[in-house]
């Protein structure tokens, strides 16, 4: 654990803040990953930065970018007779068009929270009379584990295990973002965990095609400050791709994980909440594994409705900050989320809410909890 500690020392962080101040430069940088947003909020970093430096959050929370239609499909699958839908807990409260998995479950759908796809496979083995469907939500970090579980299901001959694959890929989303006319960001703080899998080379197009400065970054405060410092320097010297998180990220990524992933999945177009359908940004289950694909099941889906007025979409593109949404902290809180950004533990709105630096509109004086 000493390794991590070197990156946590406040003195080192203060020194970096001084260096950043000394540059006297301005810039708006997007931290793509929800874990970065959380780390920044938790450390209270934003108010410590010079006034000209702004950090905005990107589409890096997989729960947040899952489209209404995909949630609706998951709910519909969970209501089918004989189905047990297994999911990471974060997905339970995400509102779809009419419903959430939590409310479907309360009305009798069999939905179980698991911590890993392998746990779902174990449920399938224990309950041969049920169809166990794992809700596959996540980026390149999660997809290899799901792919590995599907290979394991095949090896063990477990045929009542299926997957709904709503996995998303980070680089195509970044390509779509930088292509937006009103995208006004001076550099990317790129995700650490995802990059461990896909490698830093996956972002090479950003500085080359879009002159976008990029730093692949770890999750300690000093990592993030290092990234900001490097991005500011690049603002003067020209865009490139640097790896601050070199202690974990290799240019080629993790070839074994990538291989398992591509054995089971192939890229497909995918709808991102708040963005649009992004070409090649999703992962579909390959034909060879079609028997495990619950995405092809016939289900009845609700008519898509007009927006609920929630501005999650604009927040995910970095157009506005959570506080700019009229619902933030009022109608929309982690207990009563209107949009997915308030649901996930790493959602942009949830992390701004949980770690706000000032009193929000709803700073309630909660009453006592009676015992436990």
């Amino acid at each position: 654990m000493r390794y991590i500690d070197e990156f946590r020392v406040p003195a080192a962080a203060r020194e970096l803040l001084r260096e950043i101040d000394a540059l006297d430069a301005r810039g708006t940088f997007m931290e793509v990953c929800g874990t970065h947003t959380m780390a920044i909020s938790r450390a209270g970093l934003r108010p410590l930065l010079a006034p000209g430096i702004d950090l905005i959050s990107g589409p890096g929370c997989p729960v947040c970018v899952t489209a209404d239609a995909d949630i609706d499909r998951a709910i519909a699958v969970s209501k089918k007779p004989g189905v047990i839908l297994t999911t990471f807990g974060d997905m339970m409260k995400v509102p779809g068009t009419e419903d959430s998995l939590a409310s479907a479950s309360a009305r009798g759908a069999r939905v179980r929270v698991v911590y890993s796809p392998l746990e779902s496979l174990a449920i399938a083995a224990e309950e041969p009379g049920s169809q166990v469907v794992f809700l596959g939500v996540g980026f390149e970090t999660t997809a290899p584990a799901v792919a590995g579980t599907m290979l394991e299901a095949r090896r063990q001959g477990i045929d009542n295990f299926q997957v709904l694959s709503f996995h998303k890929l980070v680089p195509p989303a970044l390509r779509a973002l930088v292509g937006l006319d009103d995208f006004d960001v001076d550099g990317f703080i790129l995700p650490g965990h995802v990059s461990v899998i896909i490698g830093s080379d996956a972002y090479a197009f950003l500085p080359v095609e879009f002159s976008m400065p990029c730093v692949v970054t770890g999750f300690e405060v000093t990592d993030i400050l290092q990234a900001i410092l490097r991005l500011l320097k690049m603002g003067a010297s020209g865009a490139s791709l640097e790896v601050e998180y070199a202690r974990a990220v290799r240019p080629e990524g993790n070839p074994r994980a990538l291989e398992v992933m591509s054995q089971v999945f192939e890229p497909c177009d995918a709808q991102w909440r708040g963005l649009f359908t992004i070409p090649g940004s999703g992962l579909a289950i390959r034909e060879e594994f079609a028997a495990m694909d619950a995405g092809t099941w016939e289900v009845e889906l609700p008519e898509p409705t007009r927006s609920k007025g929630c501005r999650c979409g604009e927040i995910l593109c970095g157009r506005i900050k959570p506080m700019d949404c009229p619902f933030f902290g009022g109608r929309c809180t982690p207990d009563n989320p209107v949009g997915p950004c308030m649901v996930s533990s790493e959602g942009t709105c949830a992390s701004y809410y949980l770690y706000s630096e000032s009193e929000g509109p709803d700073e309630r004086g909660e009453g006592a909890d009676i015992g436990r």
Binding site: M1, A43, F88
Partner: protein
Amino acid sequence: MQDLLRDMIFPALGGQTLDAAEDAAILEVPPGTLAFTTDSFVVKPLFFSGGDIGKLAVCGTVNDLAMVGARPLYLTLGLILEEGLPLDDLERVLASVASAARDASVKVVAGDTKVVEKGKADGVYINTAGVGVIPDGTNVSITRVAPGDALLINGYIGDHGMAVLKDRGDFAFEVALDSDCAPLAGLVSDMLAAGRVHALRDPTRGGLAAALKEMSSCSGVSLEVDEPAVPLREEVRAICEVLGLDPLYVANEGKLLAAVAPGDAAAVLGAMKAHPLGRDAAVIGSAGAGKAGRVSLTGAMGSSRLLRMPSGEQLPRIC
């Protein structure tokens, strides 16, 4: 059922009492004010590093009594057993109840057992109710925190929650970490003797964050916490970091948060450090004259943030 009671439960707890098999326990109560509480315990796995559901069921209720300044005297024990539970497991749980009750100086005086169909319970559920006596002159209440009070904690936070999570086996963590599950009445008694303790709360579910928010709300004072002063093991910090959890919101089962009159903080801290369950005690902040429910934390970087009431259970992140 009678066999179960006769052959297992009475012998395991017999040293405590329960032996008469009367319909109700007949108790002697010393002078003072009665404190009475109940709690139900559901935990997976039943056995974890540093404890099990039996120990938890005794400590949880004993600690709730201790938090109002009561000396715990008697417990009831309600067991809901799932058909197919290995008798060895039940024996271990009962032995653990008996030993925790001895440690906490309480007697198990009444009980009940029900068996439910397989699949209707996770092995064992336990309910305990507890009675204690608050000595005359003791006045500890969650509403009594005053501006200027020092906030003290008796050691490392988050051990219980992370030990249970680790032992659930969903993650392959290879760390040595025990639950802090322990009866706190003895420690509380030493603290009360050492100085003016205004309020106590055990930061169980919802962690230290919930305890701080409740203290602030109920007493109508603001609280300021110095985050780096909060004792946190490197192991707990590391697991939390991997899973995207905040240790302030992780459950404890052998910790207490105390608000102490400023003049007595050093004496109470000394008493805590002298007790085996308070060796790592620390002053972590103070109460202010701000708004009820306002808890602010100053981090290592010097910037401060507000603490929110935890909502539901913390969940590991998806990435």
